[in-house]
């Protein structure tokens, strides 16, 4: 098992919402829709079919959900860890740090302020779709060879909930600051950082593979 740092960008939330997330964790869209979560249904939802729909048909009508778009019912949570490092760069000549993708989602593609959450995901190094506790490393081409060209770069997919104990901190990124930095040719930085007191440092259990920043 590998403990992997990942980033999750969320737009349209305020500081109070961040504190709520620190209390309850980051939950999937399905949970937010049906709250409280029908836990008996969880094993029925964590399927390879739904993982493929999450990756490839996110905004398509889902016949299993009365033709509502799949994204409203997804039991998965997309996060990013950045490119798999040097070997992949040698092959394809491009390298993506995790914060680029996270910032795009946090700012709703540069239209609003937002937050980037720093989390840890537990991954097994092989497919384990039915296991809620483990994230799927869809960026890892040895495991998910079909996701290479067309997927969000560096994706790690969590399931149902990223527990609060696995969320280290959240950074606020304001659109005006990001735009000002980019216009002046400097790298944008977060406006503020809030740490999560409920976070439990996983490095006490195992080595942690850092996110590519």
């Amino acid at each position: 098992m590998i403990i992997q740092e990942v980033l999750k960008g969320i737009s349209g939330i305020e500081e109070d919402d961040v504190q709520d997330i620190f209390a309850s964790g980051i939950v999937c869209n399905w949970w937010r829709k049906v709250n409280p979560l029908p836990s008996l249904e969880v094993p029925l939802r964590l399927t390879e079919r739904n993982l493929h729909w999450h990756q490839n048909r996110y905004d398509h009508p889902d016949p299993l959900e009365g033709n509502e778009v799949f994204s409203k019912h997804t039991p998965f949570i997309s996060t990013t860890a950045g490119s798999v490092e040097r070997d992949r760069f040698n092959e394809i000549n491009v390298l993506y740090p995790a914060w680029w993708e996270a910032l795009k989602f946090a700012t709703n593609f540069f239209t609003s302020d937002g937050w980037i959450f720093y989390c840890s995901a537990w991954i097994l190094g092989r497919k384990a779709v039915g296991h809620r506790a483990f994230s799927e490393e869809v960026r890892e081409l040895h495991v998910y060879s079909d996701f290479s060209l067309y997927q969000l770069e560096g994706e790690v997919t969590a399931k149902i909930q990223i527990p609060t104990a696995q969320i280290q901190k959240a950074e606020e990124w304001t659109l005006s600051n990001v735009q000002a930095a980019l216009a002046s040719g400097s790298l944008p930085t977060a406006s503020q950082t809030i740490t999560n007191e409920r976070f439990i440092d996983p490095s006490t259990y195992s080595n942690v593979r850092a996110v590519l920043l």
Partner: protein, 276 residues
């Protein structure tokens, strides 16, 4: 390309914002590039190269060829600092075949004099300088030309051992690059060269079809593949240099394959903008 992109339901306003992001981020990394080089921190230089490369593709898609050329040149500079032979392809997309050629010549020379001790991570990438060399015009029968020809043959022979290795964003086998470069170098017929371009055209067509089916990612271009994909455009642009010397244009061939196909329209339009 912008109108075709709209037709294909790509969110061009989002792409314009993403272009400014990648242009700005590239500049942000680039402003510290000397420090990164001194400390041998290669990742931020690779991020800058990737970011400028992405910005260039976005600019092409949005019909801003001038900005695309500027971004490709900056990307080339970064890849060159990383000692990546891939820089040659970025220089060619920046319409700077002279720099591409000088850089390629140096890369191949360094490989030959290393006598088998060339860094392995840059080994496969030598196919890029080979392709540039194949379209570089030389005065015939000078000692320098003969030396260049010997070097070309020697590197092709070495790389043939890796002919099945996938290369670049599209994972096209090295053999496709090698046979194309060798055919152009030999001055084969136009039909021969067109035939050897088919693996690149087919890979692009499959990529566009597949990418479009993933509508959420496609609309936002949330994928490493790009409709103005530099890995394909650079190969076609170099081949086009050779075709132009024969008073032929590669876009005619691309369009002839099927004028109605989206991939053909995208690619021929992109190539016209790249080549000016």
């Amino acid at each position: 390309m912008k109108e075709i992109a709209r037709e294909l339901e790509i969110d061009v306003e989002l792409v314009a914002r993403d272009l400014e992001f990648h242009r700005g981020v590239g500049a942000g990394y680039f402003s510290h590039i000397e420090q990164y080089s001194e400390k041998q921190r290669w990742e931020p230089i690779a991020f800058a190269a990737t970011s400028f490369r992405r910005a260039a593709s976005h600019a092409l898609l949005l019909d801003n060829a001038t900005l695309a050329i500027e971004m490709f040149a900056k990307s080339a500079d970064c890849y060159e600092r990383l000692h990546r032979p891939y820089a040659a392809m970025m220089w060619s997309l920046a319409r700077n075949l002279q720099t591409a050629s000088k850089f390629s010549e140096r890369s191949l020379f360094e490989f030959v004099v290393s006598e088998g001790r060339h860094p392995s991570e840059r080994f496969n990438q030598l196919v890029y300088p080979l392709l540039v060399e194949s379209v570089t015009e030389d005065e015939q029968h000078t000692p320098a030309t003969q030396e260049r020809n010997r070097r070309f043959t020697r590197v092709v022979s070495e790389l043939n051992a890796f002919s099945t290795a996938p290369l670049g964003m599209m994972g096209i086998p090295m053999a496709s690059y090698l046979t194309l470069a060798a055919s152009i170098e030999r001055n084969d017929t136009s039909q021969d060269v067109e035939y050897l371009l088919l693996p690149f055209l087919n890979a692009y067509e499959v990529a566009v079809l597949t990418a479009r089916s993933k509508t959420y990612h496609w609309r936002r271009l949330l994928m490493p593949f790009h409709p103005a994909e530099p890995d394909i455009l650079s190969v076609l642009s170099l081949a086009n240099t050779w075709f132009k010397r024969r008073n032929q244009v590669l876009t005619d061939f691309i369009r002839k394959r099927s004028e109605s196909r989206i991939a053909s329209r995208l690619l021929s339009d992109a190539l016209e903008r790249v080549d000016g």
